[in-house]
């Protein structure tokens, strides 16, 4: 019996040592593949950064330098001025903050109604809301363009903020989160005579904070990256958003574009996104994995 056991153990050992050898070899290929892919993914960022500090003559060398011979920070100053980035930054920040704030209020109130209150037609209404998520946004844009035009909203902050305040998806996300909070808490609060709003503010919002943070980040990133709608309705420099302004600043100029300056502008626009990502990585990845939408 014991003999049999050692035999068995030896066999296992043999198998596992064979597996280890194979494992090390295959681990090598796994790492090689991942590192090569990671370098490919990173390359555009690297190229953007080193190009952004090259002089235009160095950029145009027929054999490119992989590291700049001299570092020209003045490209950044030039980019900032040429694309009027200061104004674009402020516009985008303002639109992003206001729309995030208002959107959060609307989302919290709606999610609370759907999660905690009883009223006729609740389920039907919720299903109808979810159904609208299937429709591509372009279908709304045609009419919304006409609507904001007739409201006289063209070229204003309002037109950039109001049409996108309600996101059915965020309402859905927050409602799911609210539903996880035990109903007993709500009942206890009711018995104590706490008002709905106070309960919402003191209990539900703190408990759902991670979801609210995810929504905030995605919404801010959305403002930073939005292009199509701002281009349609707000081309006035006073209200232009950053992506639109960036694209315009370097398409208008005919002939030779100063690519290093252009890359510096791209780097300036990309930097805030990276900073947000580095500090709030967890919330972003969590939010994205549940939403599957960009911004």
């Amino acid at each position: 019996m014991s003999d049999n056991k050692t035999m068995h153990a030896k066999d296992l050992q043999k198998v596992s040592s064979k597996q280890t050898a194979g494992k090390i070899l295959s681990k090598f290929w796994v790492y090689l593949f991942l590192i090569v892919m990671a370098l490919i993914v990173l390359f555009p960022f690297y190229w953007m950064l080193i190009s952004s500090v090259k002089s235009i003559d160095e950029y145009r060398l027929s054999v490119p330098t992989l590291f700049p011979k001299e570092i020209l920070w003045s490209n950044y100053v030039e980019a900032f001025n040429q694309a009027n980035l200061g104004r674009l930054f402020l516009n985008t920040l303002y639109v992003g903050l206001v729309s995030t704030l208002l959107s959060l209020v609307i989302t919290v109130l709606s999610a609370f109604a759907f999660a905690r209150l009883e009223f006729k037609g609740k389920n039907a209404l919720f299903a109808a809301l979810l159904a609208t998520m299937m429709i591509p946004g372009e279908l709304f844009t045609i009419t919304n363009y006409a609507t904001v035009n007739s409201l006289g909203w063209m070229d204003s902050y309002t037109v950039l903020i109001v049409p996108f305040l309600v996101s059915v998806f965020y309402i859905y996300l927050l409602r799911q989160n609210f539903l996880q909070i035990p109903n007993e808490l709500y009942l206890a609060a009711k018995v104590d005579g706490t008002s709905d709003l106070k309960y919402l503010w003191k209990v539900m919002i703190p408990l759902a904070l991670p979801t609210l943070i995810s929504i905030t980040i995605l919404k801010m990133m959305g403002a930073w990256n939005s292009y199509v709608w701002p281009r349609l309705v707000a081309n006035d420099e006073k209200y232009q958003l950053i992506t639109n302004g960036l694209r315009n600043a370097f398409t208008d100029s005919t002939g030779d574009v100063n690519i290093p300056v252009q890359m510096a502008a791209v780097a300036i626009v990309s930097l805030p996104l990276f900073l947000v990502f580095i500090f709030l990585r967890k919330y972003i990845m969590k939010g994205v994995s549940r939403s599957g939408i960009k911004g």
């Binding site: 991942l34 990671a38 960022f45 054999v63 609208t132 709304f140 006409a146 709500y186 947000v276």
Partner: protein
Amino acid sequence: MVESKHKWKAWLYLSPAIILLLVFTVWPIINTVRMAFLENYNSMGAVGGKIYAFGIGNFKQVLDYKLFLNCLGNTMLLTVLTVPLSTILALLIAVCLNAIKPLQRILQTIFFLPYVTNSIAIGMVFAAMFNMVGSAFGGENEIVVTAGIINNVIEFFGGEAVNWINAGSTYAANITVMVVYIVWNALPFKILILLGGLQSINKQYYDAARVDGTRRSRVFTKITVPLLSPMLAYVVITGFIGGFKEYSSIVGIFGEHMGPAGDAKRLNTMVGFIYDSLSTQQGRASAAALILFGIIFVVTMINLYVSKKKTHY
């Protein structure tokens, strides 16, 4: 759930959302369908009091329109090329990431980086990488000074420089650049979802397979892929939807002209077509939007049907 005495309260809380949705979501749905079925509708004429006949003329017109067919073709081609490519690549990367311990977090972060970028801004970087400065295909006085880093790499390996995106470039070259950029852009989301799926697979399946001495390839096709199939289905469906709505990545690389210099609109997509006719030809734009919705709906349904049959829950 509490039977609230104040039912009006729920409606009060919902009112901001409902009012905004009525104006910017429900009305557009009704109005788009209406405009699509009014022959040659445009809002300028409507304001002037013109009455439009009911009919399917807009759809006929759109489908007869060469420009639209061109957009449809571009959209289909890009979708069919990028969705399988990015899904397979993402699956490979996710499986590899799941198999390692050291460096996993840092690599995972790197692979997610393209997600937190602005697709217009980084499109400009890709354009610069593929761009020939002072291209020989431009003016007579211009000479190629730099062929662009991608061409430099190709030449380094003994290949010949290609005119990727400049005036005189071929359609195939343009599409290649777009595929590279779109796949690069699509990877992070797919890797995130697939890796999440892989990490939730019960380790016992793999232990059992190891005890049985199952080959790696068999483990992959018989355990990993089936158990991952819900996530794969999700990634493919969202990939198709995103693919049919492709637009800003092309603006990022080619600019608003949606094509290389001298051949504007060559790479225009369905969404681009809608935006082009949005302010003047609302009837036509609406018909195109409904066609886009129809395609997305059908493709999603097919995907759901197939994945229901193939998916292992």
